[in-house]
């Protein structure tokens, strides 16, 4: 486990993805903070916690696959087979 890192204690700079969405990490999106001023106020989440939440979500989805079946078959692989067969 990593110890204290100063850079992990604050959120990274966000860049705009769409008119209502920003991103701080690749493939991870959040609501534009400008839309969280009236009724709901955005919390400042440090990077380490952000990464923990994202990793936890992926863990949950992997757990769910494993819960329902022994393996998940890739459609990308099957599509490649279909292409090769045609």
């Amino acid at each position: 486990m990593l110890g204290f890192r100063l850079s992990a204690q604050k959120p990274s700079e966000a860049h705009r993805v769409t008119d209502v969405v920003v991103s701080r990490f690749e493939h991870v999106f959040e609501v534009d903070p400008a839309l969280m001023r009236e009724h709901v106020h955005q919390q400042e989440i440090p990077n380490w916690d952000f990464e923990r939440i994202v990793a936890s979500r992926w863990e949950h989805l992997a757990w769910m696959h494993d819960h329902f079946a022994d393996c998940a078959i890739s459609a990308e692989e099957l599509l490649a087979e279909i292409e090769a067969e045609s």
Binding site: V31, E38, H60, A69, A72, L78
Partner: protein, 500 residues
């Protein structure tokens, strides 16, 4: 009007269930007043049960119900409390019977492929145990991690993978039921508790499923077991046009692939909503306006062959495959929709805390586009008048067990900013529900595919949907529940006692 309970009744309940299993405090009663469906929070106090009991056996439930009859006190059964209609909501106070302590696995029968459980057990927890033996009980609602077998029986639920494995009515073989008089029966197809098909007598299993707690309390159930799937396959395809996606949905559903577990159609409003708030859809180009998802389960060799056929159909329909990451990730999240973050947008675009509500209906396939248009118009009218509703789009799921080509579980998801409820907004909401139900009936459908239709608004149209069948419902209710103590006020069934 809530019925008050005397201290002497509490003493009797304590004698039946034990001192640790009878509650009258605010925490126990207030938390069992509502379900996740929209609720008039400004009138919360009207729905508080007078007492909560957690019995641990069929005998205790029977004694509680007999006591309620002696004192003419309402009884409301409750399992997970995850329902999207009002089955578990007390309308007149009374005794709330929470079945959560009856959560044991009583018997695992390898020869007959059955498991017998208390109805307070949750499917996810049951499957964790069954996995050790190579089995699965494939009843898979959106509330899979938190709903209980008893609630599934009470609502006659729908399962995400029901096209392959069947829905609750197909998966529950028989169950023990405490009738509104306290008498105990076994409701099944007939014969022994593990008989799947019988022609002996009336089919009581179907009568005592989906009654929303108005005809008794299920306490023990014998369930179907399947071999645990070796393989899962899921695929999500994007379309530029809703009608193309709708046609692809129909072609996939009619494919005849035996391992096909379900097909899901996302409409344009749903994609607009997801593009705003869902990581899988935010990066999608504007050309993505509708999505079709489907999944298959079973033995790996069979799933592979079936999956190829499904992929060829989707490819020929003009769709674009969205990739394994979205397909597998989004499919996994479908087993647990209650964990979705609950926020929507006010009219000015600002984020507001909103509860998720899903209005469901059974709609014949050819009618889906027309129903979609009309339902969105109703939602838009609500949002124009009250800045507390947010249209989150529609899904249509294959609805038939084993032959998924007919009607679809059609749902419109509406975010509701519940802290803004007042009488005007509530009345408009109830009218909208009535209008949504009317559209379903007008198009040859049913008001509900899986939630039940006993909530304020939609319930007014149940007599219209059932016709003379509603008179039969009233006759059955009056006959089985002579004192109207079992979940009174639901399904307009008070009428059964007004006309006698």
């Amino acid at each position: 009007m809530a019925v008050a309970i005397l201290d002497s009744v509490i003493d009797e309940l304590t004698a039946i269930c034990g001192p640790d299993h009878v509650f009258t405090g605010r925490s126990a009663t207030f938390n069992r007043a509502r379900v996740p469906a929209p609720f008039p929070v400004h009138r919360w106090a009207e729905y508080i049960p007078s007492a909560v009991v957690l019995p641990s056996s069929t005998e205790q439930v029977s004694e509680v119900v007999k006591l309620a009859n002696r004192h003419r006190i309402p009884v409301v059964p409750r399992a997970g409390g995850t329902g999207l209609t009002d089955g578990a909501v007390p309308l007149r106070g009374g005794i709330l019977v929470d079945v959560k302590l009856m959560n044991q696995i009583h018997e695992l029968d390898h020869e007959n492929r059955t498991v017998t459980v208390g109805t307070g057990i949750n499917m996810l927890k049951l499957n964790e145990e069954l996995r050790r033996h190579g089995y699965i009980y494939p009843d898979d609602p959106a509330s899979y991690p938190c709903s209980l077998v008893g609630g599934r029986i009470g609502t006659s639920g729908w399962s995400l993978i029901g096209a392959r494995y069947g829905h609750t009515r197909d998966l529950v073989i028989s169950f023990e039921l405490v009738l509104p008089t306290g008498e105990v029966i076994r409701a099944g197809d007939g014969g022994g508790p593990k008989v799947r098909k019988s022609s002996s007598g009336y089919q009581l299993k179907h009568l005592f499923m989906g009654h929303q707690g108005t005809l008794g309390i299920a306490t023990e159930a014998t369930l179907e077991l399947f071999p645990r799937p070796e393989a899962e396959f899921s695929m999500f395809w994007a379309y530029e046009d809703y009608r193309d996606a709708w046609r692809a949905t129909g072609e996939l559903a009619r494919s005849g692939v035996a391992t096909l577990a379900g097909v899901v159609l996302f409409d344009e409003h749903k994609i607009r909503y997801l593009r705003r708030d869902d990581e899988a859809y935010i990066p999608q180009p504007e050309s993505v306006r509708a999505v079709v998802a489907c999944a298959a389960y079973g033995n790996e060799d069979e799933v592979r062959v079936g999956a190829k056929r499904l992929l060829r159909i989707a490819k020929a329909s003009g769709g674009r495959y969205l990739g394994d990451e979205i397909s597998q990730g989004d499919w996994a999240s479908r087993h647990d929709r209650y964990a979705t973050p609950q926020h929507g947008r006010a009219r000015d675009g600002q984020v507001a805390l909103m509860s998720w509500h899903c209005e469901d209906a059974s709609i014949p396939y050819p009618e889906l586009p027309a129903v979609s248009e009309k339902w969105h118009a109703i939602a838009a009218s609500l949002a124009e008048r009250f800045d507390m509703f947010d249209d989150w789009g529609m899904f249509a799921y294959t609805n038939g067990a084993f032959k998924p080509w007919g009607d679809y579980l059609t749902e419109i998801d509406i975010g509701v900013w519940e802290m803004k409820w007042d009488e005007d907004a509530w009345a408009a909401w109830v009218q909208a529900k009535r209008d949504i139900a009317q559209v379903a009936i007008d198009h040859g459908g049913s008001i509900s595919a899986c939630h039940g239709s006993c909530r304020e608004g939609e319930v007014d149209l149940v007599p219209l949907e059932l016709g003379a069948g509603f008179e039969v419902m009233k006759t059955i209710k009056r006959s089985l529940d002579p004192n109207n103590i079992m979940n009174p006020g639901k399904y307009l069934l008070d009428q059964a006692y007004e006309e006698g």
